[in-house]
């Protein structure tokens, strides 16, 4: 397996689609009239960036043994439905010990003016 700490993936643009936001809100039992649920960051931040990591042959993530162990979102502000944001994923850490690989994956989301919106920190554990 390759350690890919520090590797940054191309930025991804996503529109915060109002219909999908409402569907997401209903799925988690939030009030769709209260705007974009904070954890919709699972879509606009983590959701659009993590496929780059999973699809990266160099990172060689073994899905069969993949566990999403921890997740943190930190917001500078909450985006509004209809906005377009840009998210960039980066491997913050990649350490193997005792037969387990720990991959820290961070995603930074910015708005159309480049101002920060959200930071996502995911920890993946891959058992060998």
């Amino acid at each position: 397996m390759a350690a890919v700490a520090g590797k940054t993936y191309p930025a991804v643009q996503i529109e915060i689609d109002p219909d999908r936001v409402a569907e997401f809100a209903r799925a988690i039992g939030a009030d769709p009239d209260e705007g974009v649920p904070p954890t919709y960051a699972a879509v606009y931040s983590l959701g659009v960036t993590v496929p780059k990591l999973f699809g990266d042959d160099e990172a060689a993530i073994d899905f069969a043994h993949l566990l999403h162990a921890e997740q943190e979102f930190e917001w500078t502000r909450h985006p509004r439905a209809g906005e377009t944001v840009t998210s960039t994923g980066r491997v913050a850490s990649d350490v193997s010990r005792r037969g387990m690989r720990f991959v820290g994956f961070e995603s930074e989301t910015a708005d159309a003016s480049g101002a920060p919106v959200c930071r996502s920190r995911a920890l993946f554990i891959i058992r060998s």
Binding site: R20, A27, G29, H68, E70, Q71
Partner: protein, 117 residues
């Protein structure tokens, strides 16, 4: 303390898969889930986190007040499981969060949130 009790259903898990964009068959297809050693389909960790986020948002005075949310995914949630999600004030602008199933097992641990007061 703010609390919400949720009994998970296949329909809710499927709705989250659609809206959240995570179509991993371990959440949708019992046969597939069993083939990888699970008891059947399981809920998305991010669905559990999403529900916990609504409880944290309520305790914080509204979703716009949340500044940070952290969880560790500690246990599986199956359709039919009932999970109690709670948010307890833990100092200025800080919430201690928990998610415990009907057997008393924590399914999310190390969970906390910061909010704007």
């Amino acid at each position: 303390m703010t609390e919400r009790k949720v009994t998970f259903t296949r329909e809710q898990i499927a709705a989250y898969a659609e809206a959240g964009g995570d179509h991993n068959p371990i959440h949708l297809d019992d046969d597939f889930a069993r083939s990888v050693g699970l008891p059947g389909v399981i809920a998305h960790g991010l669905l559990q986190m999403g529900i916990l986020g609504t409880v944290a948002a309520e305790a914080a005075g509204g979703p716009g007040h949340l500044k940070r949310l952290l969880v560790r995914f500690a246990g599986m949630v199956l359709p039919g499981d009932t999970v109690t999600f709670t948010a307890t004030p833990d100092g200025e602008g800080r919430l201690e969060l928990s998610a415990v199933n009907q057997k008393g097992e924590a399914v999310l641990t190390k969970a906390s949130a910061d909010y704007e007061t």
